[in-house]
Symmetry: C2
Subunit: 426 residues, 2 copies
Amino acid sequence: MSGARYIEELTPVSIALEELKGRVRPVGEWFEVPVWDAVGLVVARDVRAPVDWPPYARSAYDGYAVRSEDTPGRLRVVGEELIGGAPRLRIGPGEAAYVTTGSYIPEGADTVVPEEKVKRLDDNHILVEEHYPPGSYLDSAGSIVRKGMTLLKSGTVLTWEDVAGLLEVAVTEVPVYRSVRVAIVSTGNELIYPSMPALTAKEILEGKVVATTGDVIEGFMRRYTPWVEVIGQTLLPDDREAVAWHIERVLPLVDVVLVTGGTGPSRIDLFYQLQDRLGGELVFRGLYVIGGKPTSAYVVEGKPVVGLSGYPISALHAMIRLVYPLLQYMGNVRRPSPPLPLVEAELEGEITPKRPRPIKVRLEYRNDKIIAIPLDKRYQKSSANVGFLMADGLALTGDRPLKKGDKVTVFLLRQPRGYKLPWLTP
Amino acid sequence: MSGARYIEELTPVSIALEELKGRVRPVGEWFEVPVWDAVGLVVARDVRAPVDWPPYARSAYDGYAVRSEDTPGRLRVVGEELIGGAPRLRIGPGEAAYVTTGSYIPEGADTVVPEEKVKRLDDNHILVEEHYPPGSYLDSAGSIVRKGMTLLKSGTVLTWEDVAGLLEVAVTEVPVYRSVRVAIVSTGNELIYPSMPALTAKEILEGKVVATTGDVIEGFMRRYTPWVEVIGQTLLPDDREAVAWHIERVLPLVDVVLVTGGTGPSRIDLFYQLQDRLGGELVFRGLYVIGGKPTSAYVVEGKPVVGLSGYPISALHAMIRLVYPLLQYMGNVRRPSPPLPLVEAELEGEITPKRPRPIKVRLEYRNDKIIAIPLDKRYQKSSANVGFLMADGLALTGDRPLKKGDKVTVFLLRQPRGYKLPWLTP
């Protein structure tokens, strides 16, 4: 056992990230796809409006399209324009047409009178009692969007709301980058897949550990990095050959490999032994954090192979701090959605983290502030997953002591306790 | 057309919610399911620890398990305990056993010496140079959890992190409520499903509207209410018989029906005509908001049938303010996850909303504050979905004027611009 096998110099997250970014390339391939298939993907080229919008003047209300100069007055209803078709009618002096919100205005009309402001005289006639200037209650042609206007910048992660926006103005295809592909490899002789609950409980009591770290980091990516496609999770024993063999085979299919477990400094840990087999360049070994300290990375054939702790909390910590911004970079993301659930909270109690660290906290909402109360020490251990059950979030500290009242950034696992939706609070 | 067909009295959201809650029952059925299948579901009965944890003293480090009284001293290594099994060894005076983080301590040992603090003398002997008091670098039996301790309260929405916590302490089954089942019915003669992009673009320019409101509200539920199962979306014309027929058939299968479109006060809107066919009780008609004002609800056979606006922004607004807390209530949720992405922002500019309203805002991060800048008026219209493309969030106002510098609650659609992950900012 040589001393070189221990972690000797820890790399700060910001430097580790820069070192990685300098050695890997963001995804370059992009395709035109139907916008309704593009939610969660990243816009690859600026999207411009293909037409003026609306293409014709459009009613903003249910009511009657009329000529402004005929108001006030008694008008004859000559028909109706329903939403869903180009304008069909043409109205002349003294005429009106029924329109609904969103339907185009008949030729000849220049204003809309809302239905409830109109007196219906008989089946064919209405009385408008006031004057309506031209352009009332309607959107004129081109008033919302001009042809050629930039609608979405490249780097935007598309949302369902964006799809509604694009389809409104007849943008039906959008250039998007292909997903960033990630493989997860969980290693550990002690790890098992769950089977029957009773049998699994027995195995746990005998010292086996159910593999959950891969699910925690996959859950993180599914929720917060929709531009990432998790190709799969593989569970392997602490066997250098098996792990190297697997990574070699999966590497051509993916952009990033995340390995959990086997990153510690101990005799049996294998992440560092992989280089003989995989080649590539060791970028850093050991992160300047507590909870994820053994995090390390190679770059093999331009692709990051990141070794994460086998503990869920420590792997999640490295995901939030390091892998998340790396996945943004690799995915060309400049306008991410959904946002990470980070909030500023006020610390209750003191913490003296020696390095950046995730502190499991209970979160209480008091006087419009979120108060972060660190859980008891025994639940702060990386090995105490049970602390997740009591925690509402992870306070992400720096390396300086924090005292009561200090601000701290918290990654929310749930809604803070006592939070009332403000519009329901009388 | 009688006056009663128009909305005459608008109901504030908090009252509409209370009226609904008074007439519907939360889901009652619950089941024991494997915890790994329960993510997103709601814990139905408090979960207690089945055993002390850890069941035996467990190493918190890679190193050597020894007898405290033998330190400092020269020790003989008699074997190793690997993680993944019950303790197998027993050590006597002058003996040590190799242990890894998480492995149980051999009988006889009462402390752990970290690997890097030990001098390896030869294959079978180590030198410990300092004294290690009993209990160093280990978690003693029962030190993390005591049998019978409450681990999770009913009403908690289970996360992947919770699964890791439960499986750690051999909880492999968990009582959860069945999902709240929701059907979405989108109505509108103008609505089309998308087909080929070029054909769909042509149809849009001719006045057709691609049905996106259902996707926006389904997307909202998939992201923020994982305890809800969206049974399906159905697109129907503005045909009272068709819609009533469909709701009658789907009602026995679901807990909530969300109808989009057909809720306006106009001649062709049909939501109000449904009662003749469906029976039930009209709970409220018209919400005291702008953007979702026509929102209305029946209760039919104890199940809410909520009519939402056909506009994505207005339907989403009613989802956030009204349907989200209703779905929490129906799902027995008291500790929701994920949290709604609500933040406090500082308003730039003025708004004079007459009723609670969603204002599409650009969000900029400046000096540790989120600044909310309302988009131009033309993008605020309910009909201007294109405003979603420029917006980063929806400011959820009350009914009073807001001026520059006022605080406003914002529902985030994306990360505010200029936000830097704080640990990457030097």
